[in-house]
């Protein structure tokens, strides 16, 4: 019996067996068993450090998520405040412009614009202008949508585009609607039906839109709940694909929506949508 075996017997077997000699007596122990000194976990630590230095897809992703804006919170908060201020301010400006129009009995939009520009340049700056937002829809959003749906070429008038209808719907559910032109086609609140505008901001529970008015353009915030929004994606000069957003199931920010897994739910809350007045 060599030295190792006595060490094992004294230090290990005494703890796990009533009779520490039992495995040795039963010949269960190898004669040439070696015990090595440890380095106190040094190698393991080194190996881990080395693997973390290696570049692979997982590593990059994990690091990317960790990188944050240094003062992310305050930036986020400030942007929210700025957005709110913008909405309130443009609302007030629209009201003021309307009042001026009523006072001066101005009937047309161009006339009112000119009058405000000449007499009250501060107010003119504050007025929301539909035309300023129009390129956002025309130049960016429409081509973005056509990109998403692979409709870069115009289809012939009267023919159906080459499009997998299901895949198209799925892509549309993940798309970004900032800059889209939406129309309230159905709503629990009858007064909202028919409002059409360009989305300035797609928040969690509302669409903030700029709406073209007769005299002044206005910023409106339309709740998604209980509302159906329709929109069109032009496929050629004459025709367009028509889709609608069911606001009740769309109550997520666009950031969250991109990676979200949607689930069909019980649609009792959408009863208003089926029972429409004809």
């Amino acid at each position: 019996m060599d030295k190792t075996q006595s060490f094992i017997k004294e230090c290990l077997f005494t703890k796990s067996f009533d009779n520490p000699n039992k495995p040795i007596d039963e010949d269960r122990l190898h004669e040439t068993l070696l015990l090595m000194p440890t380095d106190g976990g040094q190698t393991g630590r080194l190996r881990r450090a080395r693997s973390s230095l290696k570049i692979n897809a997982e590593n990059i992703k994990a690091q990317g998520n960790e990188v944050k804006h240094p003062n992310y919170r305050s930036v986020n908060k400030n942007s929210k405040i700025a957005m709110r201020d913008f909405i309130h301010d443009s609302r007030k400006a629209s009201m003021e412009a309307k009042r001026i129009a009523a006072d001066r009995k101005i009937q047309s939009k161009a006339e009112l614009r000119q009058y405000v520009k000449d007499n009250n340049s501060v107010l003119y700056e504050r007025l929301p202008k539909y035309d300023a937002f129009l390129p956002m829809y025309k130049d960016f959003w429409v081509s973005y949508m056509r990109d998403i749906l692979d409709l870069s070429q115009d289809t012939q008038v009267g023919s159906t585009p080459k499009l997998n209808a299901e895949a198209a719907l799925m892509r549309l559910s993940m798309a970004d609607y900032n800059g889209s032109r939406l129309r309230v086609t159905h709503s629990k609140n009858k007064n909202m039906i028919g409002i059409e505008g360009i989305v300035v901001w797609d928040s969690q529970k509302t669409f903030i839109m700029i709406v073209k008015g007769k005299l002044v353009d206005e910023i409106k915030s339309i709740p998604k709940r209980g509302t159906v929004f329709g929109f069109q994606i032009p496929i050629n000069e004459e025709e367009a694909l028509e889709y609608s957003i069911l606001g009740d199931r769309f109550k997520y920010r666009s950031v969250d929506r991109a990676s979200r897994k949607f689930k069909a739910r019980r649609c009792d809350d959408m009863l208003h949508y089926v029972l429409q007045e004809n």
Partner: protein, 312 residues
């Protein structure tokens, strides 16, 4: 005072026009036993007269129900999956009466292990229903293993198992409605007895939540109007407002649920503008999930030349 009274009486004469008059019959039997047996012209003629009767009794939305076994093999050709061809056969009827006709498939579930996937079949039908005839089939249908809109039972036979509140109500909570088919009570005495017993147990198990009523009519004489249905169900333990919801609002929800499965992506973005709901939109009938319309332009579009190509 007298004038007031007369006015009240007057308003009773003509029932108040509800803003949404929608009466749905979710189950009119499609005269075909299985995919292999073709439908005859005589059967279609009977079906047409049934539909006309339904229209006369005030129904606006009617669903044709094709019952097949879940284990029987579905046809491989996508065109054969739905043999109804509603537009071709009943197009003129729909136009003249304004009746809206939908298609439904009911799967008789006996042994869940021999079932097949519903991916293909649920695309060509508006509603998918399950009819479990065994205990395991009922478990499969109620626990959400199948993507169905409606749970129905064979009311002419003894129920496969005692219905538990937990399973039925769990099913209702997920949005799957439970169907009562009153056609069974009109055929023979044995079936009627069984029908009463089964309906009582369904009402008990579901606590009268999420129950829809349909006719299951095979011939014109098996159709009843809303009053008749209400009278029948009130004797079986439902209140009259539950009865009126059963073939009105809740049945409409079944249609909506079924339609949205194909016409939308998980109920988020749907085809069509939404001015008419996906259930009523004639352009979305059949399997189409895409709607092409004329472009709507506002004045600013015409002022400048429309630019559609990106400028970046």
């Amino acid at each position: 005072m007298e004038l007031c009274f007369i006015q009240l009486l007057g308003s009773y004469d003509t029932p108040p026009e509800t803003p949404h008059n929608m009466l749905v019959d979710l189950n009119v039997r499609w005269p075909q036993e299985s995919f292999s047996k073709p439908v005859t012209d005589k059967d279609i003629a009977v079906l047409r007269s049934t539909l006309e009767t339904l229209h006369t009794t005030g129904y606006t939305h009617v669903v044709l129900n094709f019952t097949v076994s879940h284990s029987e093999k579905f046809p491989s050709q996508p065109n054969d999956l739905n043999p109804m061809r509603i537009e071709e056969r009943f197009g003129s009827l729909m136009q003249t009466t304004g009746l809206k006709i939908y298609s439904r498939i009911t799967l008789v579930i006996d042994d869940p292990s021999r079932g097949q996937t519903l991916n293909k079949i649920s695309k060509v039908y508006d509603i998918v229903a399950a009819l479990p005839v065994s205990e395991r089939g009922l478990t499969l249908a109620t626990t959400g293993g199948l993507d169905i809109d409606l749970l129905t039972l064979d009311y002419g036979q003894r129920l496969p198992t005692f219905l538990k509140h937990k399973s039925i109500c769990g099913c209702v909570k997920r949005g799957v409605k439970v169907e009562i088919v009153y056609g069974y009570s009109l055929r023979d005495v044995n079936q009627r007895r069984q029908f009463v017993q089964n309906v009582r147990s369904v009402v008990r198990a579901s606590r009268s939540r999420g129950i829809v009523v349909s006719s299951g009519a095979r011939e014109p004489l098996e159709v009843r109007n809303q009053l008749g249905v209400t009278a029948l169900l009130r004797t079986l333990g439902m209140t009259s407002d539950q009865c009126s919801r059963a073939n009105n609002e809740l049945a409409a929800l079944v249609l909506l649920n079924g339609r949205l499965r194909v016409k939308s992506y998980k109920q988020t973005v749907a085809a069509g503008s939404g001015a008419v709901s996906v259930v009523d939109d004639p352009a979305l009938a059949g399997g189409a999930a895409m709607k092409i319309v004329r472009r709507r332009r506002d004045s600013s579009d015409t002022e400048e030349h429309p630019s559609k190509q990106a400028k970046i």
